[in-house]
Symmetry: C2
Subunit: 272 residues, 2 copies
Amino acid sequence: MNGSGETGIGAGRRRLLRGAVAGTLGAAGLAAASDHSAYPADRDAPGRDPGRGEGDASSLSVALLLYDGFTALDAVGPHEVLCRVPGVRVTTVARKEGPVRTDTGELALVAERATRDITRADVLLVPGGGDRGVTAMMEDADAHRWIRRIHRHSTWTTSVCTGSLILGSAGLLRGLPATTYWASRPYLEKVGAVYTPGRFVEAGKIITAAGVSAGIDMGLHLASRLADEKVAMAMQLAVEYDPDPPYDTGSPEKADAETEALALKLLADSAR
Amino acid sequence: MNGSGETGIGAGRRRLLRGAVAGTLGAAGLAAASDHSAYPADRDAPGRDPGRGEGDASSLSVALLLYDGFTALDAVGPHEVLCRVPGVRVTTVARKEGPVRTDTGELALVAERATRDITRADVLLVPGGGDRGVTAMMEDADAHRWIRRIHRHSTWTTSVCTGSLILGSAGLLRGLPATTYWASRPYLEKVGAVYTPGRFVEAGKIITAAGVSAGIDMGLHLASRLADEKVAMAMQLAVEYDPDPPYDTGSPEKADAETEALALKLLADSAR
């Protein structure tokens, strides 16, 4: 649990709702609200980069790849951190624009752009997913071609959870240290990578994160790379990432065999 | 960083992709895939409970309220944990069905149901959002009526981040201990609640979580309440929640004034 918030209350009269102190949104915020700001009029022009062409030459584009059966938190954890880094625009991308369902089928996120319309991004981010979704992506030659094309010019190519198996299937991890979801570690070897422990593993311009929630840790690290440590530290506060897990069962090294078996059963039973 | 995974690799040959060991998805998984399983044919029948009416009398319904300007991780953190708890179905609900944009405007989640069609839920979950979105919800009498109606029969009524200000505005927190986003603590008093430190605060059947990422901790706690501690421990492993934040700046008690000011600026600048 966090420490006392009493000083926070006293000192915080000026803070009100979050962010209010920094200037009632400002002209930029109001302009953005009027047109949703996400895409210029020529948003469908082929080959346009996500996050570019908005009169902000300094913007950094993050292409967040969604696919049927991805895991929501794998995508949203790093998204939440990166979308507030100055100059960064995160754009959801999928084979087709529109809703993309997660591994349980209970939730859908909207892909703003189709992969055919995106040829460049400063950062590629590939979340993991359930067995069915990841297996399909591991066999999807079109997806692999697109991933390789984006990777060719990216500054960073990243994954969360079993997303590294997709990067590996696209041929990006041969001989490289990498990590993945705990239950999928043996699969890294099959795609030519060398399993390396860690919440995230940086190898050249590729960063792979461990399972699901590790995307938040990776996102903060990436924020420090895209901006600087001050911004990353501020983003950790902005998402109040002062974790206090109720148990100490967050990795297979810490959990017992019964917990591990139950975790795998819950995952299998919740898959569609 | 996690400990060595070498034993994990050796012992893990049987685990393959996550969940695969527990039975190639099983008949239930395949059946679910064929019809998306989320809603029966009568999904639009007024008054039907989310998660009910699927031939599973033991199911527990979680209504996850989305609104224009909500914060993605506030919603997806607990969703990721709760959606795999046996018998639990999480349904996204908003004023209207369809895409609902987050506080930055860069991301949209799909609301599966409209509030007018939902009159009961075992669990109500209200995420926080940016200033504009939360302020609007704090003044939305229709939303307050719906929240009070669901709360009347809920087993648990919960919030993440500034979602507690919405619960408070609906009149649910008078005199109760509660928490919220760190920068919004003074506002709790305005809605009649008593700010209480903690990643989450349980008061009767109301559980309020601190900011953004605290929804994951709260989700695990709620999993233990809806099922049992074994399930919650397994879900902590399932989302590999073994956090290793790169900095120690996740709360205002730990961050310095410069980091706090920058966090508020990043939030304001990223708001639409």
